[in-house]
Every structure is written in C-alpha cells, then in structure tokens.
C-alpha cells in the first residue's frame, strides 16, 4: 500500500473538484478499494472520502425509488420500501458478501467494485485489466470461475456483484455527476464489456461520481427471484446467478426480464430471450427454450464449460421460481 493524500469534501461539487486531475479515487465503505490498495492493484495518490456527502437517503422519485450512493447495502436490503416494492433487490444484496461487509459497503461502491479474477489481484502476474498490454494468464490458465459471455482476447473476467445483477433486471438508472454536470445512465449501459480496454469497468467518465441508483415505478408482486449458485452456501462469488422479474396474465407471461451474474464482465442481459418469453405460457418448455437462446452465445474457456450447462439450468429454475411466485430464500439454502 502506497502513501496517499486524503481529503473529505462536504459537497458533491467539491468532491468532483477534489477527484479531478491526478490519480485520485473516491472512497466510501472501502470494502474493495482498501483491499486493492493492500495488493498494490490500486495506488491512488489521493483518496477523496465521500462519506460526508448528502447521498445517504432512500427517497421517492418519479413514482419509483431513488437510492443514494452512500446508502449501505444492509440499509437497502432491510429498508421497508425496498422490501415491499423491490424484494428482488433486497434478496440480491443478501446473497452477497457477509453481514459485516454489507454494513460497510455502499450502493455506489457496489457498482464500482472490481473483478475477483485471481490474476487481477496478484501483481506478480500479468493482467490486462491491472496493467494494460501485459497479457491475460487466465486465458488457458485458471478460468473455472471466469466469463462465458462477452469476453475478449484481452480479458475474461466477471463482474462480481450480486446487487448489480438485481439492478440490471430491474432496469435501474444510475444518476451521476461530473465536471460537465449531471446525467443518467441506463443500468445496462453502466458496466461495459472488456473489448480492448479491460482496464475500464464502467462507462463513467473521468471525474464522475455516482449520486444515486433510481428504480422505475414497477411492481412484480411475488414474481421475482434471485438465485445464486456458488462453491459454498454463503460467502462466495457466484458461479452463475439469475435475477428475474415477470408479469403474468394467468399462466401466460406478459413480460419478463432477467440478468445473469458470474458469467460476464457485466450483468448479462439477453433481450432476444426476454422478447421470446413475452406471450408464451409459463412452462418448463418455454423457460428451457429461452435458456437455449441465451447459452447459444456462450464461449466457454478451458475450465468453465460447465457454466454453460449451469447457466441453462439456473435460468430455467430461476424463471420457474419467478413464474410460480416462489422466490429463492437467501437464508434457507435449499433451492426452491
């Protein structure tokens, strides 16, 4: 860990100014950034502590809900309005990390956490995300946990968040501020695929800060789920996860949206498969056909071909749970 300057602005405008120019990073909960600094993956010259900014509220907005960037993961997960209107989000958050981490981690920080690829964290090894142009030893190396969708020859890392998978399925919008003022980014466009620039995880411009994540005015009743499959029953990143929401007319799907975690550099949406589901009967056959559409795009690595089949099965189960209105519990580890 290197030496760094530290500032703690009181306003968003001052924070944006403080982070401009030079090698500065925002810090809130620090649950990921501090680890990265200990591993010398991040070596900021300045830390801009944003915990005093007025971004820690959950408020109604445009008929939906706006979650401030500094609201902790725990606060969101146990918020009465979130539990009532967006139980998928609460469930996705509780599927991740540990109670202690969720107490410290913030909404904005969760969006900006970095991959858990082994090589990214180990400065003794090459990594295009950490050191552009140095290579990707995960390709042909240890890649059992890596991406099967949207990879590039330079990077096969996954985005590690559970919350973001839920937000992607919910069609959230990210509100940001920067030197050029405020703007909104549809959630599906917030994270990016690695392409030739795996060092960039998001479409945030230099100096921009997340203000809030805004949820649209929608409800799905019990027709949602967050199903996470991993190598142990808690405190592990997803091999594959499924966030799904659905509206139904009787046994017919009116609309369905889903996002997959653990399989791509960003929460993975498949609009073709979602469109396929609309108007179809909510049956195993329908879900299997949709899953086949999704996995047709899969390009597995040397060790993770199982993720293709696991994705197919997880998606069928997740859609079944959403259709049946029997969302996956995050405390009862038996899969519904």
């Amino acid at each position: 860990m290197n030496r760094f300057d530290y500032v703690r602005p009181e306003t968003v405008a001052d924070a944006v100014k403080a982070v401009a120019g030079g090698n500065a990073r925002f810090i809130a909960g620090g649950t990921n950034l501090v680890d990265l600094m200990k591993y010398n993956v991040e070596q900021p010259g300045r830390l801009v502590d944003i915990t005093r900014l007025p971004l820690d509220a959950i408020a109604a907005r445009d008929g939906g809900l706006s979650i401030g960037a500094l609201v902790t993961n725990s606060t969101v997960a146990y918020d009465a309005q979130v539990k009532e209107r967006y139980p998928l989000l609460a469930s996705a958050i509780l599927a991740g990390a540990s109670g202690q981490l969720r107490n410290a981690a913030t909404t904005g920080g969760n969006l900006n956490q970095r991959t858990r690829c082994y090589y990214f964290y180990d400065e003794a090894t090459p990594c295009n995300k950490r050191l552009p142009g140095s290579g990707c030893p995960a390709i042909g190396g240890l890649n059992r946990i890596h991406a099967i969708f949207g990879t590039s020859p330079s990077c096969i890392a996954t985005h590690p968040s559970d919350m973001c998978v839920g937000l992607a399925a919910l069609d959230a919008v990210v509100r940001v501020a920067g030197p050029e003022g405020e703007r909104t980014i549809p959630f599906a466009e917030y994270h990016r695929l690695p392409e030739d620039n795996p060092e960039r995880d998001t479409t945030l411009k230099p100096g921009e800060i997340v203000l809030s994540v805004d949820l649209p005015d929608e409800t799905f009743g019990p027709h949602h789920t967050y199903l996470k499959l991993r190598d142990r029953l808690s405190y592990a990143f997803a091999l594959v996860s499924v966030a799904a929401v659905m509206t139904l007319d009787g046994d017919t799907i009116r609309s369905a949206r889903f996002a997959l975690g653990g399989v791509a550099h960003k929460p993975w949406r498949d609009r073709e498969a979602e469109a396929f589901l609309a108007g179809k009967p909510a049956t195993h056959e329908t879900f299997a056909a949709a899953a086949n559409i999704v996995v047709a795009a899969a390009q597995p690595q040397s060790e993770n071909a199982f993720k293709v089949e696991l994705t197919r099965r997880a998606l069928v189960r997740g859609l079944s749970q959403a259709a049946a209105g029997t969302p996956q519990s995050q405390s009862d580890k038996r899969i519904a």
Binding site: M1, N2, R3, K38, Y39, N40, Q43, R116, Y118, Y119, Y121, D122, E123, A124, T125, P137, G140, G141, L142, R144, L229, D231, R232, L233, S234, Y235, A236, F237, L239, N304, F306, E309, L310, R313, A314, V316, R317, K333, R334, I335
Partner: protein
C-alpha cells in the same frame, strides 16, 4: 471404564464436560499471540515475495525503498549477515530429509512466493509501502508444478523421514490374487492440494534484550523446535534465547516447523540489535507448507461375498526440489482390513514448490479417503452393505507390524453410529431416496489414526495458600490442552480447578515436545499427572509426620486426595486439609517434576490406533448439483475421554475440516506460473456456517493401556474418513462416483 486419576476412585473433573480455562482470556482479547507482543524499540519487517517459481535473481534495486523515511534496512541475499552453512543446522525437529529452505540465502529462486527481501521500518505501514518499491529482476525458467507430468520420475525416498513409517514389505501375492479375484475395483483417487489456513497468520516477535539475549514470541506448535532452530542457525547459546508461545490461533500442522518469518525476524534483530516483528500476510500464508498432491491408485480384489483377496495401494506424492517430505499415506490399507495379499507403495516426485508439511492427520486424510471410497465401490460391486463389508474384513490385528491392537472398538463405532444415524432404513440403491427436488444420499466411511506418545516432562508447584501451578513447554494449539492439564492436576491432588493454574508455551518451563500427532494429551497429561503424584507423596509424608497426625500409621496407597484434603480410604473420620499440612509444617512451596514417555515394552507388543465410523447425509439439488451436508454422525473410539466438551469440539472441528476437504478446499496452481493463485480466504474456500448443519459426536467406551491414563488423542481422528463418507453419500444420492476431491458443481454436472 478406565480407572480414575483421583485416588478415591472417582474423578471430579476428568471425564466430564468442562469449558476451556483459557476461554475468557481468548474471547476478551487478553490472550496475546506471537504478533501481538511488543517492545519499546520494536521495528517492523515486511517480506517481499518472489513472483517467479524457478530461476534466479539478476538484480535487486532497494534504493527507492531505502529512501522512504522510516525505513531502517532492506535485507536481501546480497547484504544479509552470515548464518550457519551446513544443512544440518537448519534441520528442525520435524524436518524431512534434504536441504531445508534458507531465506535470503542466495540468488536462486526455488518456488513462487519465496522471500527475496525483508524491509524493516519504524512502523508496519512504512515497511509495507517500502516493500512495494523493491524492484527485483529475474532470469526465469519454466517451472514444473504439475505432478501428473512427473509421474514417470517418481522415486522411493532414499532416506526415510524420522517418525514416518515407510510402507511395510508386501505379503502374499497381491497382483496374482487381484488377477484371480472374481470382483475387482481399481481406480485412481486424488485430493486437491490444501493449505492449513489457521486464523492467526504466522508471526514472530523478537525482543532484543541486550547483552546478546533475545526473547522470541513465535507462531509455533512447540517452543522447543524454535529454540533449537535459532540456536543452531544463528550459533546462539540456548540460554541466551527464550521462546514463548502461550497461545496459538490454530496450527493444523502449519506451526510444526519454524517458518521463514522467524528466521527473518531473528536475522534482522541481530543485524540491527533491536527488537523486530515480522508478520506474514494472508497471501504469504500460501508460501510455505501445504497438504501435498498425491496420485493414488487403489486396487481391491474380492470374492463374491466381499471377502478381500487383494489390496494394492500405490501413491506418488509431490514434494519440493530440496526436501523429501514423507507422510503415511498407504499403510492404513494394510492396518484397517484383514487381507492375505497386500502390496503398498509410496513414492515421491519433485516439484518447484515449497516442501509440503504435515496437515491435520497428514497422509491419513489422503490415503484413507482413497481406501474408503474404494471400499464403498466394492460394497456396490458385491451388493454388500458398506458396514457389513467392513465387518467382514475387520482386522483383529495390525498385519503391517504383526501385532495385536492395544484396543480397537471400531465395531462399537459402527453399531452406535449406525443406530444414531438410522442407517438401517437406508435404501442402498443410488438415487432411490429423495426429499422434494433434492436427492438424498447416505454414506459412511471408517477413520483411523495412530495413537502416539512422546517423551514429555512437567512441573508442579504448590504454594502455602493451596494454589497449584503446573505446566510445561508444549503448546495449546487451540485443542484444549490448558483445560485438560488443569483437570488432570486438580483430580490428581483433589483440588478445585479454580485453584490450579496451567502454564504452557515457554522454554523456561519443563521440557515438552511439539503439539502435534494427537499425542499431547497422553504425553503432557501423563507428565503432569506424575508431577502431581510426586507432590501428593511429598504432602502425604509431611502430613504423616505431624504431631497427632490423623494419617499416623497409614500407608500412602490408602491415602485419598479429595476436596482439598488428604483422607484415608474407608475411614471418613481421618482427614487433614492440604493447606493445614503446609501451614503446620511451615512449608511455603512444594515443587515436583514428572516425566512420561512411551512404554517400550508395550510399544513392542501392541499397535495403538484410534478409530472412527463417520456417517453423512447429503441433499443435492437434482438439476443444479448444489450439495448440502445435512447430517453427520461421527462415532469415535479413542480410549479415555478427558473432557467431553473440548473432545467434542476437536471432533466437530475435524468433521468440518473433512467436509471442507470433500467439497471446498483446493489450492489452485497455475502450472505456467508455478504459483498458487487463490491465495486468500475469499477464493480459497473453507466451510462457512451455512455449510454446516447437524454434527453428532459419539465417544464409544474403550479401555486402552497404551499409556497410563488410557488416552489415545483426538486432534486428528475427527477429520479422517469424513471426506470419503461425504463422497460416498454423494454417490448414493446421485449415482455419480467422483474420485477427485473436492466435489464441486462442475464435477457433478459433468
């Protein structure tokens, strides 16, 4: 039941459930660990680790690090002070044959993660920052870390490791009998490399006392090993070195050998003539010993009714390029079952890694896993119940040594474990039992571990106020040693546990061995008992010599030490308080020592082993392959149980570790880089609370005479066999036989 320790015939504490005497200190943070001790002039060392696995250092640039304010010194192979040069001096008490690793010795890189520099600074953060500025240039060679690729180069270790029995000579004609057997099972089995991952990272605090003396707080499972190592490597007199380790935050074998942070801390302290602490990071905990990769083949030949005609068990274990690490992997297959044709082999192959090290039930976890999955396969091949098959082939003697067992209550483990588990209602057909979407599997396996004893001594001091202090230099590695020694001392002298203090982990205390091998209870327990018995004799003599003594004309063998008094068996009217004896005789303190060691005659006549039967229920989502271990029953035969609570905790911990071994633990090597890549507790998975449900522990009655207390040891038996029982349950649930552990979703879906 084994006889009591207390002279009355009934123990107050031994054999009961008692909470840890060190529990309050641990949960309130008063228990200090090696990296928590300090000194007024303490400097902090941070290790720079090699990024390559094989090659040599061509250039070291420490200028930027040395320029950081607060940096005192950067030690490398280029500027380190001289230390001993003979391998002999670096060979600690449990070193395998070979040339032990020497940190900062020369420019040669022998494994990835090897320390290449130590940055010493006024504070930890400065040292860590400066360490990131040390630039090391390497000439790298392609490393060899894939054991499978080295199979053809495997060799029998020319020099055997002390204390590790090589495989016995074959008996009968195992290959011929296998060929002739009507039923055959022959398969390869493999367990992933595992790292110990104790909660407490390795750390050494060296306090510079002046006048050439040092006090060392070291993460070690017995200060005796650190003591000898420092003296030999640095040419110091033992009396100038005091080593302490009052508490250990988990060892599991990782603390048996002095590790490089100790060497570096002492090196730096001597070079700077000031106190130095070196603490390894969690990642650096993956830069020394581990449970080795072993290629195993088990071949069982049987007659139609399951009687074993042939057992072959062949193992090739990875080791380093500088030491021939050895553990007992295959011998268990000759001990556990009665078979007339047995051939066992154990070879090594060299890898560009650090030397493996003993990890909880070393060798047995690996070898018994393979044997007990193979036995389950044989049960299916012969249509036998797995317990019936094991009973049919039950060994009544240890044929590897041609001796009877000192005791073997494995039948009772089968019976009581099966009863508690409800085994009789099992439908043996795979995939026949389900619970909703989940397939239910019931599997079982046998566990075995050698019951050992080491030479140990102990001291006991009784003061005028009736307070007793006992102790020796061994370590309590979290097993409950403080507690059982307190119980033993209290019962031997008839005192209350509250009046007894146990001191451990200090070279100023009576000599004692490392804590390992499940031998501590038998070794140090007996030594403490004998020291207290000596005190009892002294007290009795003082008491009988008093004027008008109530013990006048009483022989010592009729004396009863109970409730703080010395009484007379069968005569309740005659008794005197111990404190009255001390007061009346003007005695300030009474001191005694005791020692204990293995009984050579008994060793020659008997084979002492602990046994277990492990029963496991898994529930597996049929589509998704998610495994839940819903129930475990572990029935243990381990002689006399000193403390039902700490004993149960030992077995619980072993079972949890066994579940981790079966389903989660795996140190992943990138063979191109020759480096373990999941070197942290986020990516190296051990079980979390959600993975663990009901674990039921049974201790069956077993009377053993291997040592005076009839204690066989419990630190290791809980893990042995557990992984096989899980794997067998997975087969029963799914019909999939997975022979490479851990069993993860990808393997179930394949």
């Amino acid at each position: 039941m084994a006889k009591s320790i207390n002279s009355s015939g009934t123990d107050t504490y031994v054999g009961t459930a008692r909470s840890r005497v060190d529990g309050p200190a641990k949960v309130t943070g008063q228990a200090k660990y090696a990296g928590e001790f300090s000194a007024p002039d303490l400097a902090h060392g941070y290790v720079v680790s090699s990024g390559i696995a094989r090659g040599r250092i061509t250039a070291l640039d420490t200028a930027a690090a040395e320029a950081v304010p607060g940096v005192i010194k950067v030690l490398t192979h280029e500027n380190r002070p001289r230390t001993a040069w003979l391998d002999y001096n670096y060979q600690d008490m449990v070193a395998p044959p070979g040339s032990p690793f020497r940190a900062l010795y020369d420019d040669k890189i022998q494994y990835s993660g090897q320390p290449v520099a130590l940055v010493v600074a006024e504070d930890f953060d400065t040292a860590r920052h400066a360490a990131s500025l040390v630039k090391v240039a390497y000439e790298a060679e392609a490393p060899t870390t894939d054991l499978e690729a080295q199979r053809e180069l495997a060799y029998e270790p020319p020099k055997k490791r002390s204390g590790i029995k090589p495989p016995p000579a074959p008996w009968g004609d195992a290959p011929g009998a296998f060929d002739a057997a009507p039923i055959k099972v022959s398969q390869d089995y493999r367990l992933a490399v595992e790292h110990h991952n104790p909660m407490e990272p390795h750390a050494s605090t060296v306090v510079w006392e002046g006048d050439g003396k040092i006090t060392v707080y070291d993460k070690i499972q017995g200060v005796v090993n650190t003591h000898g190592y420092i003296a030999a490597v640095f040419g110091m007199k033992k009396e100038d070195v005091r080593v302490l380790n009052p508490y250990l935050g988990g060892g599991f074998g990782s603390g048996l050998r002095p590790q490089y942070q100790l060497f570096l801390a002492v090196l730096a302290a001597r070079a700077l003539e000031r106190s130095v602490r070196v603490v390894l990071t969690r990642d650096q905990m993956f830069t020394f010993g581990y449970r080795p990769d072993v290629l195993q083949t088990v071949s069982l030949g049987a007659d139609a009714s399951g009687g074993l005609r042939s057992i072959r068990h062949d193992a090739i274990s990875g080791t380093s390029n500088f030491e021939d690490y050895q553990e007992v992997v295959v011998n268990w297959s000759g001990v556990l079952y009665d078979c007339d044709n047995v051939a066992l082999s154990y070879k090594l192959a060299q890898l560009d890694t650090y030397t493996p090290s003993d990890m909880r039930a070393p060798g047995a976890v690996t070898g018994v896993m393979a044997l007990e999955i193979a036995m389950d396969e044989l049960a299916y091949e012969t249509g036998q119940d797995p317990i019936a098959l094991r009973l049919k082939n039950y060994s009544e003697s240890d044929r590897t040594e041609g001796k009877p067992f000192s005791s073997k209550s494995l039948r009772a483990c089968f019976a009581e474990g099966a009863e508690r588990f409800g085994w009789s209602t099992r439908n043996p057909e795979p995939r026949s039992m389900r619970d909703g979407r989940e397939l239910v599997g019931w599997g079982m396996a046998t566990g075995i571990w050698e019951s050992m004893m080491q030479q140990s001594s102990a001291s006991a001091t009784l003061t005028r106020d009736g307070k007793l202090t006992v102790g020796n230099a061994t370590g309590d590695i979290g097993t409950g040693t403080y507690t059982i020694l307190t119980q033993i001392a209290a019962d031997t002298l008839g005192l209350r546990m509250e009046d007894v203090t146990t001191k451990l982990g200090d070279t100023d205390l009576a000599e004692a061995p490392l804590a390992g091998g499940s031998w501590t209870a038998a070794s140090s327990g007996t030594a403490v008992m004998r020291a207290c018995q000596d005190l009892a004799g002294q007290l009795f003599a003082l008491a009988r010599g008093l004027d008008d003594s109530p013990l006048a004309n009483v022989d010592f063998d009729r004396a009863v030490f109970k409730d703080g008094h010395i009484g007379v068996a069968g005569d309740a009217s005659r008794s005197i308080a111990i404190t009255d004896v001390l007061r009346a005789t003007g005695t300030e303190t009474l001191e005694a020592t005791g020692s204990a060691g293995p009984d050579a005659a008994h060793q020659k006549a008997f084979s002492p082993y602990t046994h277990s039967a492990v029963f496991v229920e898994v529930k597996i989502d049929e589509d998704l392959g998610v495994i839940r271990v819903t129930r475990v029953v572990s029935a243990i035969a381990a002689g006399k149980i000193l403390n039902l609570k700490t004993a149960r905790s030992q077995i619980l911990g072993g079972v949890v570790m066994g579940i981790g071994s079966a389903l989660e633990e795996e140190s992943m090597l990138d063979h191109t880089l020759g480096r373990f890549m999941n070197h942290n507790l986020g990516e190296y998975h051990v079980p979390v609370n959600a993975d663990i449900q009901d674990i039921d522990v049974i201790f069956v009655d077993e009377e053993d005479k291997a040592n005076p207390m009839g204690v066989k040891g419990l630190g290791e038996i809980g893990i042995v066999g557990t992984a096989a029982a899980v794997a067998n349950a997975v087969f029963h649930a799914t019909g999939k036989r997975i022979r490479e552990l851990p069993i993860t979703i990808d393997k179930l879906l394949a």
